[in-house]
């Protein structure tokens, strides 16, 4: 099979009814295009980041791919099946983790939830025990197994949820903001595990996130969507190029006022330290450095790649302006 996931012209339109002014005045109907003709393919074993500003249509896409939502138009094939037509067979092959919602039983110890899932997914006892033992060790939740879910911290719960989504050994894993609200250590653990799962087991992963560190460390490929349309399909570098601000010059300058050549943006200014964002294709580094050296003096300097967070923030702002 060449593509494990294939999406063509996916459209999801919601009709939103606004209440009229009085009880009897007609209600206004507006059609919201949550997804408006999105197409992409994913090959087996890929690790794809699915990003875009809030309300871009990320979760809607995940819902369509996991069979929860029937789209208004377009076509999806996951492992050759149409998710919403063969829901039950489809869910046997996918794992889904929603960062904001648990799929464990709130009042039960973690292990009991796993047992129930074993039964729901009709898993063979021996194979289930082996998979569970492996996952419990890899994600290090051994001491949590007898704890009721409601007593877990967010990070602990996320780890348990991840194990729960993998007990039936799905071929595809959908992660919807899995690192939201996690502390630094939990994030690193989570990333390390998912990376290993993708590399060693060949599990195909589609990840939606707002955490650009997730994207940078994990995703070899990115899909950017906004206002229901696909805006980019490429690598992290492609995203940087698209956003324009590719480099940041961190410098310590002399006393006095700092002036900048056209195309450079002052992003931080603290005492004698400044940070300047620029795009080397529009403003070559030598011009910027010469300008600063001749106008303000340069004591120290360092050029780094722009943090992806800022790059994406700038990109989202531009997208919002275009819309407005």
């Amino acid at each position: 099979m060449e593509h494990i996931i294939s999406v063509r012209d996916l459209c999801v339109h919601f009709t939103v009814r606004k209440k009229g002014k009085t009880m009897f005045s007609p209600r206004e109907k507006t059609v919201v295009r949550a997804l408006d003709g999105v197409s992409f393919d994913i090959a087996p074993g890929e690790f794809v980041g699915y990003i875009g500003p809030n309300g871009a249509g990320k979760s809607t896409t995940i819902k369509c791919l996991s069979g929860i939502l029937t789209p208004t138009g377009g076509h999806i094939a996951v492992l050759g099946r149409v998710p919403w037509e063969e829901r039950v067979r489809h869910v046997a092959d996918i794992g889904v983790v929603f960062g904001q919602r648990t799929q464990l039983w709130w009042d039960l110890p973690v292990e009991d939830s796993f047992e129930l899932l074993r039964d729901i997914y009709k898993l063979d006892r021996g194979e289930y025990e082996r998979t569970k033992a492996r996952l419990v060790e890899a994600i290090d939740i051994g001491e949590l197994l007898r704890t009721p879910v409601r007593q877990l911290s967010l990070g602990q719960r996320m780890r348990c949820d991840l194990v729960a989504s993998l007990l039936h050994r799905p071929k595809i894993l959908f992660l919807d903001e899995p690192t939201i609200g996690l502390d630094a250590v939990s994030k690193l653990n989570m990333r390390g595990f998912v990376k290993e799962l993708n590399e060693k087991e060949g599990t195909t992963v589609l990840l939606t996130t707002h955490d650009m560190d997730d994207v940078e460390t994990l995703c070899r490929r990115l899909l950017l969507i906004g206002h229901g349309k696909k805006l980019m399909d490429g690598t992290v570098d492609d995203l940087r190029r698209m956003a324009g601000t590719k480099r940041v010059l961190k410098a310590t300058v002399g006393e006095g006022k700092v002036t900048l050549p056209a195309g450079a943006v002052l992003t931080a200014h603290e005492g004698r330290r400044i940070e300047v964002a620029f795009d080397p294709e529009a403003l070559p580094a030598d011009k910027l450095v010469l300008h600063l050296a001749s106008t303000a003096g340069l004591t120290d300097m360092q050029v780094v790649a722009a943090p992806l967070d800022e790059t994406v923030a700038a990109l989202y702002r531009r997208m919002a302006e275009v819309e407005a």
């Binding site: 939502l69 869910v91 919602r101 129930l116 039964d119 729901i120 009709k122």
Partner: protein, 264 residues
């Protein structure tokens, strides 16, 4: 068979969470018993002043009342998940149901087993046993079998109603009180012989929501009342409950389809 095992595993898991609040559980069951027995005490008082109702004795009415209350208590206990379903849609937990490898009806059904409804079950069973014991000529095994069939049919019918009520949540999450008229109202209505009501009302509960087929028709034949129907219909009537359940399941599937295309 395998699904039945899974049902009990899931329902037991739910019971274990409920049992974390034991006092609340016991009070719930006792309260349910007390609240429902008052209904029958009301009927009793009625008989104390009038003696008979449209030719039916207190013992005969007790059978009508017992059958319908037993049915309703079982359906309520088993189908409580449908009663609580609006919350499941609002919280988005229904998405989780759609992500799992089982039918949606099965998962909602097994999400809750409400044993506090044992209160109504106990009083319904008590009244039914007293009613059967008080029949002057006794009851044969065949007649008792028919009553059992009626109870099963009743469980099916009430489950069908609960499914329809839950399915409405897919379209509107507001005011499902209207359905209580059919469930709670239906139980109270069917505690009396259908013949005391006006004809449009009788027809509604025979042909639209066929509660009358589950206790009144069979009981009327058992107790030798005059009916415009042949006697064998009494034995067929409980099947109406099963048909109604199928209708409920159909409405449910329509609701799920709507939910999945509208995203609610």
């Amino acid at each position: 068979m395998e699904s039945i095992k899974t049902y009990f595993l899931l329902a037991l898991a739910d019971l274990r969470s409920q049992m974390q609040h034991k006092a609340s559980f016991v009070l719930g069951a006792v309260g349910n018993f007390c609240a429902t027995i008052i209904d029958f005490l009301g009927i009793w008082t009625l008989f104390a002043s009038f003696g008979a109702l449209d030719g039916w004795t207190l013992a005969q009415i007790a059978v009508l009342y017992g059958v319908i209350n037993l049915s309703f208590s079982i359906a309520e206990a088993v189908g409580r998940g449908f009663d609580l379903f609006a919350g499941m849609v609002k919280s988005g937990d229904f998405d989780r149901v759609l992500l799992r490898l089982r039918g949606t009806l099965f998962q909602v059904l097994s999400s809750r087993l409400e044993l506090t409804r044992l209160g109504r079950f106990a009083q319904g069973a008590g009244v039914l046993i007293l009613g059967i014991a008080a029949q002057p000529q006794g009851m044969s095994a065949g007649q008792l079998g028919l009553l059992l069939l009626c109870i099963l049919g009743g469980v099916a019918l009430f489950l069908g109603l609960l499914m329809m009520q839950a399915a409405l949540c897919f379209w509107t999450v507001e005011s499902l009180e209207a359905f209580n008229v059919l469930t709670y109202g239906g139980v109270t209505m069917a505690g009396y012989p259908l013949s005391v009501y006006r004809s449009w009302f009788r027809r509604f509960f025979l042909y639209v929501v066929p509660l009358g087929c589950l206790n009144y028709l069979p009981a009327a034949v058992l107790f030798g009342k005059d009916l415009p129907y042949p006697a064998f219909t009494a034995y067929l009537a409980p099947v109406a409950g099963g048909l109604f359940l199928l209708l409920g399941a159909l409405v449910w599937q329509l609701g799920v389809r709507h939910y999945r295309s509208a995203g609610a």
